[in-house]
């Protein structure tokens, strides 16, 4: 009984190590292909359009409504101590430093990370990836690298959209629903918000773009087991991608704070 439990635990640990190793090696290979071969610029632009333009509506909606809700919650809190003039500052800092990049990362993971896993996974199980190899086309160069590069480049732009929508949403709520002074909302942003608040968020967004594309392409590329395996890969790409974004968010925030980039 004990031997069986130990055997099972050992096997699980080995499988996990194996999985993590494969995941890291996949990225190392992608980076080496990026550095040693010609970047497929057309593919990158196509993917940027697909991820960026395609996700702009959901980013607009999540950013706007998060800004609205955040401003309302802030109002509830600040009105208790009579400091409503700080709502603009709190909403802006919240959207630029945390909510903008994280929510955009999660939404784009749900929409594009899963799509990457499904598309590449479907190509894998229908032998299209093997076909690329037999045509002397490196699947990493053709499928993986453009998606990772595109996602890393476009995520900061989507995050800017999310930040703006959130801040404007907060402004609209404060001015037209709560009838607060519009000058107050804008002035405190002008006075107190620094460029580093925004750049920190954008750096995080670029990392989130990298992570979500890394997970999505890896899950797709390693798909096995037909339709069921494809479903599993798609689900894993969203779950693992989201978890990595949330965990890395803390470490990136901490790193940016320590290095003074977003202190």
């Amino acid at each position: 009984m004990i031997v069986r439990v130990l055997d099972s635990a050992g096997r699980t640990a080995l499988n996990m190590c194996n999985g993590v190793g494969d995941f890291v090696l996949f990225f190392v290979r992608a980076v080496s292909v990026l550095l040693t071969t010609r970047l497929k610029v057309r593919q990158v632009l196509y993917q940027m359009e697909s991820i960026g333009v395609g996700s702009s509506l959901i980013v607009f909606l999540t950013g706007s409504f998060t800004g609205l809700a955040f401003a309302l919650q802030s109002y509830i809190g600040f009105s208790r101590v009579g400091t409503e003039e700080f709502i603009g500052l709190v909403v802006t800092l919240g959207m630029t430093r945390e909510l903008g990049p994280v929510l955009t990362g999660l939404m784009v993971t749900g929409r594009c990370g899963s799509a990457m896993a499904a598309e590449i996974g479907s190509m894998r199980i229908t032998e299209q990836v093997d076909a690329l190899s037999t045509l002397c086309i490196d699947p990493y160069q053709y499928l993986i690298v453009p998606r990772i590069v595109a996602s890393t480049l476009i995520m900061p732009f989507l995050t800017v959209l999310s930040m703006l929508c959130g801040i404007v949403g907060g402004y609209l709520l404060c001015v037209y629903v709560l009838f607060l002074n519009p000058e107050q909302y804008i002035d405190i942003i002008r006075e107190r918000v620094e460029l580093s608040d925004i750049t920190g968020g954008l750096i995080k967004a670029a990392f989130f773009g990298l992570f979500l594309a890394w997970v999505g392409t890896y899950e797709g590329f390693t798909t096995t087991g037909g339709a069921q395996g494809l479903g599993r890969s798609t689900t894993r790409s969203v779950v693992i991608g989201s978890i990595i974004i949330l965990i890395s968010n803390y470490f990136l925030t901490s790193w940016l704070f320590q290095t003074g980039v977003a202190a």
């Binding site: 032998e127 093997d130 037999t134 002397c136 086309i137």
Partner: protein, 253 residues
């Protein structure tokens, strides 16, 4: 010449040897058909020949080059020499027929204007008309997809073509068209062809037949005299008999 020496394959999560010491010499310029039951590892064998899957042990030699020890760069050279026609054509869904056939050239930096005549020439070889150039794979019939797949393979002017069940899922008439096409291609271009098939109709077109069973080649001989063979494996297999050395899941029950 394609030479397989004691090729074995076992997957990490499976104790069973899919291929258990395959020895096979495939003559150059001829059509060789590998037959066997479903799940015997024929497709795996074919993918190992071209280097898409590494064998667990053993050696595969193509034109005096050892495939099993090739680096990725060397494998790319092999892919230029060897074409592979996939079971379900494996056309890229997001690309048109023109882009699929000319993909290797387009990705290599050749301009579409220069690729077009080459694509049209290869399409003519497989009896496809140029009016489908702008169609997507989803708009093509099964037979057309196979022919587009074959045309795509021909773009690199390979001296060896490996066909993975080229007539699976096709009606008898279309299957015959594909068989004749393969035969015609082989005669015209002197291509060494290795074909995996379950279809006994293909025996009319090929030169040699190899039977794979339980991870080993149980028969290799000329196709012309296949029906006179007394080899118990081939006798049972080509006649579809339940009794014989080949035990199926059904006969086991």
């Amino acid at each position: 010449m394609i030479k397989l020496i004691d090729v074995r394959k076992r997957f990490a999560d499976d104790q069973r040897w899919v291929l258990d010491g395959v020895d096979l010499d495939i003559p150059p310029g001829e059509m060789t058909c590998i037959i066997g039951q479903s799940g015997e590892g024929k497709s795996i064998l074919l993918k190992q020949i071209i280097g898409l899957i590494k064998p667990t042990s053993g050696t595969i030699i193509i034109d005096e080059q050892t495939v099993t020890t090739m680096t990725e760069r060397e494998l790319r050279g092999l892919f230029r020499k060897c074409g592979y026609v996939f079971q379900f054509a494996a056309l890229l869904d997001s690309l048109t027929v023109f882009e699929n056939i000319g993909l290797s050239l387009l990705e290599g930096g050749v301009s579409p204007a220069k690729v077009l005549p080459i694509v049209k020439e290869k399409m003519a070889l497989v009896n496809l008309k140029a009016d489908i150039l702008d169609k997507y794979p989803s708009e093509l019939s099964g037979g057309m997809k196979k022919r587009v797949g074959l045309a795509r393979t021909l773009v690199s002017n390979p001296s060896i073509i490996l066909y993975d069940e080229p007539t699976t899922g096709l009606d008898p008439i279309t299957a015959r068209v594909v068989h004749e096409l393969m035969y015609d291609m082989q005669k015209r271009l002197s291509i060494t062809s290795v074909i995996i098939s379950h279809d006994v109709e293909i025996f009319k077109y090929v030169d040699n037949i190899a039977l794979l069973h339980r991870g080993k080649i149980r028969f290799f001989g000329p196709a012309k005299t296949i029906w006179e063979s007394t080899n118990p494996y081939i006798y049972q297999f080509i006649r579809g008999l339940a009794e014989g050395p080949i035990q199926t899941e059904i006969t086991n029950k």
